[in-house]
């Protein structure tokens, strides 16, 4: 079978409300990007659709763009529009 990677996905603010959880483990095909993960998330949590295109992504506490390839053990966070300050 295809190789897989396991990542920890963190939900905050609006994405936490929609998903109903703070944290979830996802198994993805090797080579999967944040973009691929987003598709899966939206499929599972339809409400996340509203964040498509407006949210940012962080991997291991650093911003990445949505073509970032995810590695086994990564901590991936969906970052809805921020509003600190």
């Amino acid at each position: 079978g295809k190789r897989t990677v396991t990542v920890k996905v963190l939900y905050f603010a609006r994405s936490r409300e929609v998903s109903g959880r703070a944290l979830e483990t996802w198994r993805l095909e090797e080579g999967a990007t944040t973009k691929d993960l987003e598709e899966k998330l939206v499929h599972k949590y339809e409400g996340l659709k509203e964040l498509t295109g407006v949210c940012a992504w962080a991997v291991n506490e650093e911003y990445v763009d949505d073509s970032q390839v995810l590695a086994d053990g990564d901590e991936v966070a969906i970052i809805p529009p921020i509003s600190g300050g």
């Binding site: 407006v54 940012a56 911003y63 921020i82 300050g85």
Partner: protein, 164 residues
């Protein structure tokens, strides 16, 4: 007997303090953190909770954060600021997490420098940059409209996604 400053006064190492806190913020405390005998200017920015948004009466804000990353990003805000204003001496930023009622302070930035232009411009840049990239969220709650509480979004973030 004459005293030469260049021989006797060693410059201070720049200090940076960044924290997320659940208690009330203290402007005077942050001013004290950046004060220095080498500083001629200290500038602070405080963000405070306003009582209204458009036609709604605000009761409070609820702040939450990706805490570990937000603390790192606050340090990046300071690093980026120092890159542009090398004359900045000390910097301190604290952001509140949790509930912030009307007139409460949700963020304080304090900056010191020998001459005032650096501290003034750096403080302005630091709050703009914080709003663009530090993963902190606020939900605004309105009087009599409990179900309409709203996640806010900073225009600085929407205008350009943060870079690594």
């Amino acid at each position: 007997k004459l005293y030469s400053a260049s021989k006797r006064l060693k410059a201070e190492e720049p200090k940076t303090h960044c924290a997320l806190v659940e208690t009330s913020l203290d402007v005077a405390g942050l001013v004290a953190k950046v004060a220095s005998p080498f500083a001629g200017a200290i500038v602070t920015f405080s963000g405070t909770t306003r009582n209204s948004f458009q036609d709604k009466i605000v009761t409070h804000l609820e702040y939450s954060a990706y805490e570990s990353m937000a603390t790192k990003e606050l340090h990046k805000v300071c690093a980026q600021t120092r890159e542009r204003w090398p004359d900045v001496l000390h910097m301190a930023i604290e952001h509140k997490i949790g509930d912030s009622p009307v007139q409460d302070t949700s963020v304080v930035i304090a900056v010191s420098s020998a001459h005032r232009a650096a501290a003034l411009e750096a403080c302005h840049f630091a709050i703009d940059t914080l709003k663009a990239r530090v993963p902190i969220w606020k939900k605004e709650a309105y009087l009599g409209r409990r179900n309409e509480a709203q996640w806010k979004a900073n225009s600085e973030f929407l205008a350009q996604k943060p870079l690594p």
